[in-house]
């Protein structure tokens, strides 16, 4: 089966721009905002959202990097998944944390990320931004900002490719 392109380079850019605008609008400003990207591609998406918001609001928006491996509910089903560093260079108490991830499916990654952040302090609120919501939830968790919603078949894989790691920007559906 041929890969189906859901978003091309230009569409990825527009979608990220829209998410950035929605984040500013919904929070009525950016003073308490802190971005937290979930490794790997969530970090690069968060970086782009940060640049967009900074361009609009003329402020500097802090960005943290979160590795959720230690908090996964399937950590030992994955056979020693490689750990990467968590680096959140700001106090999470009383902030509005915007969690950023590439694809949302079951909600388990988000659950792990919320637990990881809660262990660092008590944010005022946590919101979730994803580029693709592919449905098929197993936990009652939903994004506050979704780039596109695509209900993929179980035998399909939705992949986000970003130039920082994959050499090009696109969102594609591949038969798994």
């Amino acid at each position: 089966m041929k890969n189906k392109v859901l978003l091309d380079k230009k569409a990825v850019e527009r979608t990220i721009n829209r998410i950035a605008h929605e984040i500013i609008e919904k929070n009525k400003g950016v003073e308490e905002l802190r971005l937290i990207g979930i490794r790997t591609r969530g970090v690069h998406l968060a970086q782009r959202i940060k640049q967009t918001i900074e361009g609009i609001e003329h402020i500097s928006l802090p960005l943290g990097v979160l590795d959720i491996t230690m908090y996964r509910d399937d950590v030992f089903k994955l056979k020693s998944p490689e750990l990467k560093k968590t680096d959140i260079p700001f106090d999470v108490n009383n902030i509005t944390a915007i969690l950023v991830d590439d694809v949302m499916q079951t909600g388990r990654t988000t659950r792990a990320a919320i637990d990881a952040i809660m262990d660092l302090g008590r944010p005022k609120r946590i919101q979730l931004a994803v580029l693709v919501d592919r449905g098929d939830r197993e936990l009652p968790i939903h994004p506050d900002y979704a780039g596109i919603i695509h209900s993929a078949n179980p035998e399909e894989d939705v992949m986000v490719r970003l130039s920082e790691v994959d050499g090009k920007d696109e969102v594609i559906v591949v038969a798994s």
């Binding site: 590795d67 491996t69 230690m70 908090y71 950590v75 030992f76 994955l78 056979k79 020693s80 998944p81 490689e82 750990l83 990467k84 560093k85 968590t86 680096d87 637990d115 990881a116 262990d119 660092l120 302090g121």
Partner: protein, 307 residues
């Protein structure tokens, strides 16, 4: 890479890639110990036993803290308060503990090979916390972690190990680990305390401390292993200290940014003087801090191994 080993019995059984994998994993765990809430749920529901037949402050506490920060349950058994004093054999103790389904047992024993024997008879993971004068793998891993953190590399360094090499499992495990890298390893101590043929491990021997530490990047001081008869290998403690004790004056022969390491416990005034132990080059307490991160990494990797 994927971790496949059930046990950590010694450095000799680890590849260079596995050593680096432990260090990289430890790098990620170090952050947990710097938080206000020093706990992650990764090993929830796992049981870790420390079974120590030799005294220990650092290693046992470090393993316990590592396990607890990963949310595992820990049980500590030391020989003096166990059925060992009633005559139970190590084998029977191990089999009985195994019947309670622990996930990892860390054993320290004066007999080399004791952890290896346990690994053959139990299904849970065994970690060698020091077996006689043989190996102390987690100490070497935390030493390499500290060297890499301080020097940015494990290649191109001059590393000098000084003291009772012949009785030192720390020296042995460090040499086994460091020889994977492109660094110069020098062993220094009285001739009676340098094992014959140690050059075959790729190290050089220098009996003069001042010469040995010239241009050194890392100096690792070891204590005399009194429990293994170390004092009978030298004329007197005082003489040993005169020739092999590290003073501030001597340190000036090393590189300006040298780091001084010691696995502890230190015998101040014997192998290391106060102004060195507490001086600006000392990373001795950082070794202890890093030990927790490295042991978290080892527990994590062994329990998540690929079956």
């Amino acid at each position: 890479m994927n971790w496949t080993k059930k046990d950590l019995l010694g450095i000799t059984e680890l590849s260079k890639e596995e050593i680096l994998f432990v260090l990289d994993t430890a790098d990620s765990f170090k952050e947990v110990s710097q938080r206000d809430i020093k706990k992650v749920p990764t090993l929830r529901g796992k049981t870790v036993i420390t079974l120590f037949y030799e005294p220990s402050t650092r290693t046992r506490t470090s393993f316990e803290i590592a396990a607890k920060r990963l949310s595992a349950d820990t049980i500590n058994i030391s020989a003096s308060t166990s059925s060992y004093v009633k005559g139970e054999t190590l084998r029977d103790t191990a089999k009985n503990l195994e019947a309670m389904n622990p996930d990892v047992t860390i054993i320290r024993h004066s007999m080399p090979g004791a952890p290896h024997m346990l690994a053959r008879i139990v299904d849970s993971s065994i970690i060698n916390g020091g077996d006689g004068a043989h190996e102390h793998p987690t100490q070497a891993l935390l030493d390499l972690f500290t060297m890499r953190e301080k020097k940015g590399t494990l290649d191109g360094l001059k590393i000098v190990i000084v003291g009772d090499i012949i009785h030192s499992r720390v020296a042995r495990s460090n040499i086994f680990a460091l020889r994977h890298f492109d660094s110069e390893i020098v062993c220094c101590g009285p001739p009676t305390m340098i094992p014959p043929h140690i050059e075959e491990l790729g190290v050089t021997v220098e009996y003069n401390l001042k010469k040995a530490i010239r241009n050194a990047d890392v100096i690792m001081m070891l204590r005399i292993q009194k429990e293994r008869g170390g004092v009978t290998y030298i004329p007197s403690i005082k003489e040993y200290s005169t020739f092999f004790g590290l003073s501030r004056d001597l340190v000036t022969n090393a590189k300006k940014n040298v780091i001084i390491m010691h696995p502890g416990p230190m015998n101040r005034g014997v192998e290391i003087m106060d102004d060195v132990a507490d001086g600006p080059y000392s990373v001795i307490l950082e070794q202890v801090e890093n030990g927790v991160a490295v042991r978290m990494a080892v527990l994590y990797l062994l329990l998540g191994r690929e079956a």
